[in-house]
């Protein structure tokens, strides 16, 4: 076994860290306050190749693979979860759908600009009555000549306001629904009939836009069917495997940042005549944080390695998502506790992380659904 990161992986980490320290961290509070990521920052991230880290060079990416992508997400999450989510939704699940199941023509037309960050992607699966149960979706696509006509709505769509390319899942066969009756489509924002509905006012991730989208007689060329007709559910699940893994990487980065801040604060903050780092109560909290981070890191990169080597990771990515989101939430909570009253103030990034972290147990499939995925797989196949 070799757990050493390669030279390019270490350089990639250093590069994203430099970007985050120089450009992201100084703007993170403003992004949260103003609920918008400056276009200039997205342009900088695009120029560095952060929208296509995992994709091969011929598709506009950097060719750094799944491990490289997890490294990039981890480092981004040190600075701003809203930016991480914006890039992640576009890359892990939006562009990834085209990379995994798109035709060569679709890859050249849509994946390349997404990977280069010239365009932003969104993954449109959830509906108001189809969250944990996507098979209950009501958006439909009916074939008319060489087009499909889409009608329906999607809910809680990350990048719903800004995205140029939408991966939309719709029912093409009501009898079969999730079992062969759901199809993925690539929609361009300019198609007539697409309307942005409610833009959500969220507890955290305030710089990442979340909106509902309405589709009214949207005509989509049949050539924009993504993957096989009726196999959209399979595409969605494959994308979510990647999304759950990289969400774990983001949780890892956020947790590491919280530990860094907490160690520095505990060494500096003096109470009863000595730094609080000398107090066992604080030491135990730091230990709890470090243990979780070590476990998170092990899970994320073991799973990224498995994925890189062609292994199916449905169970593993569910484990990563479930464990890392819960561990990160605990780590943020402990960081806030160590910082005391200051941790509760907007002056420090911990308050923001506390709000940002809460959604992690819900999106990309709730942790309850992850536990079902894990349990059903264990019952079916046993342990490793």
């Amino acid at each position: 076994m070799d757990f050493t990161f390669t030279e390019e992986q270490q350089m990639l980490r250093e590069m994203v860290r430099d970007f985050v320290n120089q450009e992201v961290k100084p703007r993170a509070a403003q992004i949260d306050r103003e609920e918008k990521i400056p276009n200039e920052l997205l342009r900088q991230a695009a120029e560095l190749g952060l929208f296509g880290v995992s994709f091969p060079e011929e598709y506009g990416g950097a060719g750094a693979g799944k491990i490289g992508y997890c490294i990039a997400v981890e480092e981004l999450a040190h600075g701003c979860n809203s930016l991480t989510t914006t890039i992640g939704a576009s890359q892990s699940i939006g562009a990834m759908a085209i990379y995994l199941d798109g035709s060569e023509e679709q890859k050249q037309r849509y994946l390349v600009p997404l990977a280069k960050g010239e365009k932003l992607g969104a993954f449109c699966l959830s509906e108001s009555n189809a969250g944990s149960d996507p098979a209950a979706m009501s958006t439909t696509a009916v074939k008319q000549g060489d087009h499909y006509v889409l009608n329906g709505s999607k809910n809680f769509i990350t990048n719903g306001v800004r995205a140029d390319v939408l991966i939309v899942f719709a029912i093409t066969d009501k009898a079969l629904r999730a079992h062969g009756g759901t199809t993925a489509f690539i929609l361009e924002r300019e198609y007539p009939g697409i309307r942005v509905g409610k833009v959500e006012d969220k507890m955290g991730l305030r710089g990442s836009d979340t909106a509902s989208l309405f589709f009214e007689d949207v005509r989509v060329p049949a050539s924009n069917v993504l993957g096989q007709l009726g196999k959209g559910f399979v595409t969605a699940m494959k994308c979510l495997d990647m999304g759950r893994l990289t969400l774990g990487a983001g949780c890892l980065g956020m947790a590491k940042e919280m530990l860094d801040l907490s160690v520095a604060y505990a060494k500096e903050r003096v109470q009863f005549g000595e730094p609080i780092a000398t107090k066992q109560a604080v030491q135990f909290m730091l230990a709890e944080m470090a243990m979780r981070i070590y476990a998170m890191e092990s899970l994320v990169y073991r799973t990224a390695w498995a994925h890189e080597n062609g292994q199916k990771i449905s169970r593993e990515s569910a484990i990563v998502k479930c464990f890392c989101t819960e561990a990160a939430e605990k780590v943020v909570d402990l960081a806030l506790q160590i910082h005391g009253g200051m941790g509760y103030m907007k002056e420090l990034p911990i308050e923001r992380a506390y709000r940002d972290a809460r959604i992690n147990r819900i999106f990309e499939g709730t942790n309850e659904i992850q536990r079902l995925v894990i349990a059903l797989d264990v019952i079916k196949k046993g342990r490793y």
């Binding site: 270490q10 250093e14 590069m15 560095l48 750094a64």
Partner: protein, 244 residues
């Protein structure tokens, strides 16, 4: 216009452990391109954009120092040269300057070689902080030196630069070929792109051995240096220090 940038690999201080007892610093990760040298690399790349030519990054050291060249390649230099050998360990600034001058001659004399009209150096390194290699190299090459250049441009065979002085700035002009020690406030070094990092790792680094440069082990390292390291001591970390 062919530009040579002298770069140094430095410790990643965020990733070392220090043993006071053994008087040693243990590295746990890769080495970094000296952040002061990044300004020299950036200036070289900007000058290349303004006037066609090539940028060569060169370092002197041992195995892990190649990490600095990889970063320079990722930033966009055209080629990388590594004067490499364990005998170079302990070389002072004078030896390093002589080694670089010899390497430059070897590169110019090699097939397809062309003179380096401009040599750029960083201001200093964060570890030793001597800042002597640049001036010593200018002396070894017999070239005029622009010290701590802030805004540097080329104009009709001359280097025109605003340089930092004790009480502000002044403008200097020197004829090419010349050497510029680049001030750390000269520019904002670019962050390499992900794809360029992936490519940089696969690119060729030209290795030069001391023997190829006509240098014997006695000419370099501790033996060839006039500066002697008498003692290396890691100070005790004290909590009660106060700034007056």
């Amino acid at each position: 216009m062919n530009i040579l940038v002298c770069v140094k690999a430095v410790l990643d201080l965020s990733n070392v452990s220090v043993s006071r007892g053994q008087g040693k610093i243990f590295e746990k990760g890769k080495r970094l391109l000296n952040p002061f040298d990044e300004h020299a690399v950036e200036l070289a790349l900007q000058l290349r954009q303004a006037a066609a030519g090539t940028v060569t990054a060169l370092t002197v050291g041992e195995g892990r120092d190649e990490d600095a060249l990889r970063k320079a390649l990722a930033m966009g230099v055209d080629r990388a040269v590594f004067v490499k050998g364990p005998e170079l360990d302990g070389s002072d600034h004078g030896v390093r300057a002589r080694v670089i001058a010899k390497a430059m001659s070897a590169l110019v004399a090699a097939p397809g070689g062309a003179p380096f009209e401009l040599v750029l150096c960083g201001e200093r390194s964060p570890e030793h902080g001597g800042g002597q290699v640049g001036p010593a190299l200018a002396e070894a090459l017999g070239r005029p030196q622009v010290y701590r250049g802030l805004r540097v441009r080329l104009d009709a065979g001359q280097v025109v630069a605003a340089v930092r002085t004790d009480d502000g700035e002044s403008e200097v002009r020197v004829p090419l070929p010349a050497l510029v020690v680049v001030d750390a406030a000269a520019n904002h070094p670019r962050i390499p792109k992900a794809l360029d990092i992936m490519k940089a790792v696969k690119r060729e680094v030209r290795i030069l051995a001391c023997v190829e440069l006509g240098l014997s082990p006695e000419d370099v390292g501790v033996a060839g240096s006039r500066l002697r390291l008498a003692r290396f001591e890691i100070p005790e970390v004290k909590e009660d220090a106060a700034m007056a």
